[in-house]
């Protein structure tokens, strides 16, 4: 679980054990009181006996909680369909329940197979279901919080990029120079573009996902200002298929990639450069590429061997793009991929592969496969 720190796990375990201890205390007390009721001869059970009857069960189940949590997390990351997820869960439930039964046999004495199957297994499965419910609730609340945090983070970073003093002042300088050379129309255009960008940064948009078309429009507004700054040195090409335009992507996922392309592809050299944003749908996946024809991504470690990807050399963790990976992970688990590679003809290609999803409205609008 890459996003979970050890201390967080330990805290979660402490909580789980605490809750189980509380439940165990209640059960022990109940057991004690029940025994008092049912023993008219005044045959009282001691607290010690009550504890020894109840505690092992609760301790055993408490110990399974981290295991169940890990399992839930792993399964959630796989993004399987319902049938497979349910089957996997059922199998795991059986395994855990049987393991618990075996272990408690050691304490309570072995029961015959029939008793186990008819009375003990169902009751243990019931306990498992209760634990699973709790764990799922905890898991999804955390996934939700993580996504919120990632999005808030991305918004802040994008805002900072747009308001980055160096960028803003250079853009304003471009305007000043356009005015001085009497190119009023272009100066006004640039002011409008800079304003668009500022508005993008200031607008209060809480959506976690937008359509790719909206996302690319945002990136283009940023690039539009860069185009003025770099004039003959920057050329932007956008190529999206109709289907890809309607696909949903995490909001602001492209901004850091585009910025990176400008900084490393254009900003870091004197010759003219091209930036390409391409997207297409392949099967059940959306593939988005941001390419520049600069010097290629910085390779901090010796160039790794050809691993994968479309004709390029895969590059080890691009510095500064770790957040992109983290956001994809939070939103899609292992169903999404992100690579930064050397392009075959120089330059770099950042590739996002994310599960294809459409807005409810857009889904109808998108061309449906003919039956």
């Amino acid at each position: 679980m890459p996003t979970v720190t050890l201390t967080r796990n330990q805290r979660a375990l402490a909580w789980a054990l605490g809750i189980m201890a509380l439940l165990a205390a209640v059960a022990v007390t109940r057991h004690h009181l029940e025994m008092m009721d049912h023993s008219p001869g005044g045959h009282y059970l001691t607290w010690g006996h009550a504890i020894s009857q109840q505690a092992p069960d609760y301790i055993l189940w408490a110990l399974t909680i981290p295991l169940v949590y890990l399992f839930v997390d792993r399964v959630a990351r796989r993004r399987w369909g319902w049938p497979r997820t349910v089957l996997t869960h059922a199998a795991f439930a059986l395994v855990v329940a049987l393991a618990v039964i075996l272990l408690r046999n050691g304490w309570y004495g072995a029961k015959d197979f029939g008793t186990i199957m008819t009375s003990i297994l169902p009751s243990q499965l019931f306990t498992y279901a209760a634990i699973l419910g709790g764990v799922l609730a905890y898991h999804y609340s955390r996934v939700f919080v993580e996504r919120e945090v990632e999005l808030a983070d991305a918004r802040l970073r994008a805002l900072r990029a747009q308001l980055r003093p160096h960028f803003m002042f250079n853009a304003l300088n471009s305007v000043a120079m356009l005015v001085r050379s009497g190119r009023g129309t272009e100066a006004v255009d640039t002011i409008a573009r800079v304003s668009d960008l500022l508005r993008d940064g200031l607008v209060d948009d809480d959506r976690a996902e937008v359509t790719l078309e909206e996302e690319v429009a945002l990136a283009r507004r940023y690039l539009a200002v860069e185009e003025v700054r770099f004039a003959d040195r920057l050329e932007v090409q956008v190529d999206l298929t109709e289907q890809a335009k309607a696909a949903r992507v995490p909001r602001l996922i492209l901004q850091p990639l585009v910025e990176n392309a400008v900084r490393h592809g254009i900003g870091a050299r004197a010759a003219a450069g091209r930036i390409g944003i391409r997207a297409r749908v392949s099967g059940r996946e959306l593939i988005v590429e941001v390419a520049d024809d600069g010097h290629g991504p910085a390779v901090l470690t010796p160039r790794p061997p050809l691993l994968s990807g479309e004709g390029g050399t895969q590059v080890s963790n691009g510095v500064g793009l770790r957040n992109t990976r983290a956001r994809l992970e939070a939103a899609y688990g292992s169903a999404a991929r992100f690579t930064l590679e050397h392009a075959p003809d120089g330059g770099a290609i950042a590739t996002l592969v994310i599960p294809l999803r459409f807005d409810v409205g857009a889904q109808h609008a998108a061309p449906l496969p003919t039956p």
Binding site: H166, F169, N173, S174, M177, S181, F230, G267, R269, H295
Partner: protein, 256 residues
């Protein structure tokens, strides 16, 4: 009165041409060219010897400080730094009392900065400036990255040469000849400037007129007088001066 010859260096086309345009409007100034990157700036400063340089701080490859480092503070003409927003640079300029312009600047701000530069040049306050520049280059980002690529002109094309591809560099008049896999490219940058731009852990000057890539050394033959010959991987023999011997030993970490 002769007009002051001004060079403009900025990587953004609008900023560069706009500034040159403004320079041309000043009857006391003459715009002698503009450069889009650090290497071009080094070439132009060495060959044109301008009286004043308007120097953008942030540029690809060799930035404004890299240009000064390459030329050498003592040979650097008076300079007005032009910057959008580089906190560390502004701090450095203030500390060393060097003039700078903040983008975007008004005509009046530019005129004031140019006025100060003109007075400085006429009153011959240049040695002061040299001192401040020396301090500046010494204080600003000593860890600043070294040159990784050079552009060379091959016929009508501009070609990129990665410094790791360079076998050795030979001085040729005021230019330098880069030997890259059997081909020689001439760049109009002095050997001294190149030496200051290249990573000293990867390149070493073995002679007044030669720098070699340490990775290409196959063997070093020395004779009793102390002079020697460095044999490169492709068999090229480059003379090593006695005076450079200690420097070569230092980077190799071995006594020869």
């Amino acid at each position: 009165m002769t007009r002051l010859r001004v060079l403009v260096v900025d990587d953004e086309p609008l900023a560069r041409t706009g500034l040159s345009e403004l320079i041309r409007k000043d009857p006391e100034l003459e715009s002698i060219g503009d450069c889009a990157d650090g290497q071009a700036a080094v070439e132009a400063i060495e060959s044109l010897q301008p009286d004043l340089v308007l120097l953008d701080v942030q540029m690809p490859e060799i930035d404004g400080f890299g240009v000064i480092r390459a030329i050498g503070a003592e040979r650097m003409p008076p300079v007005i730094f032009v910057t959008a927003y580089e906190e560390f640079a502004l701090e450095a300029f203030r500390v060393h009392a060097l003039d700078y312009l903040l983008k975007p600047f008004s005509d009046a701000e530019l005129a004031a900065a140019l006025g100060r530069a003109k007075r400085l040049i006429r009153d011959d306050g240049l040695h002061q400036l040299t001192e401040r520049l020396t301090e500046l280059v010494g204080s600003v980002r000593p860890e600043s990255k070294y040159l990784s690529r050079l552009t060379v002109r091959v016929a009508q094309r501009v070609q990129i040469v990665r410094v790791t591809e360079i076998d050795w560099i030979e001085a040729a008049d005021y230019c330098a000849k880069l030997h890259v896999a059997g081909t020689a490219h001439v760049v109009r940058v002095s050997l001294g400037a190149l030496e200051r731009l290249l990573d000293p852990a990867a390149f070493v000057r073995v002679h007044r007129s030669a720098i070699i890539n340490l990775d290409r050394i196959r063997e070093i033959l020395s004779d009793p007088t102390g002079d020697g010959v460095v044999v490169l991987a492709d068999g090229t023999k480059v003379r090593m001066a006695r005076s450079r011997r200690a420097a070569v030993e230092r980077v190799l970490g071995k006594a020869l």
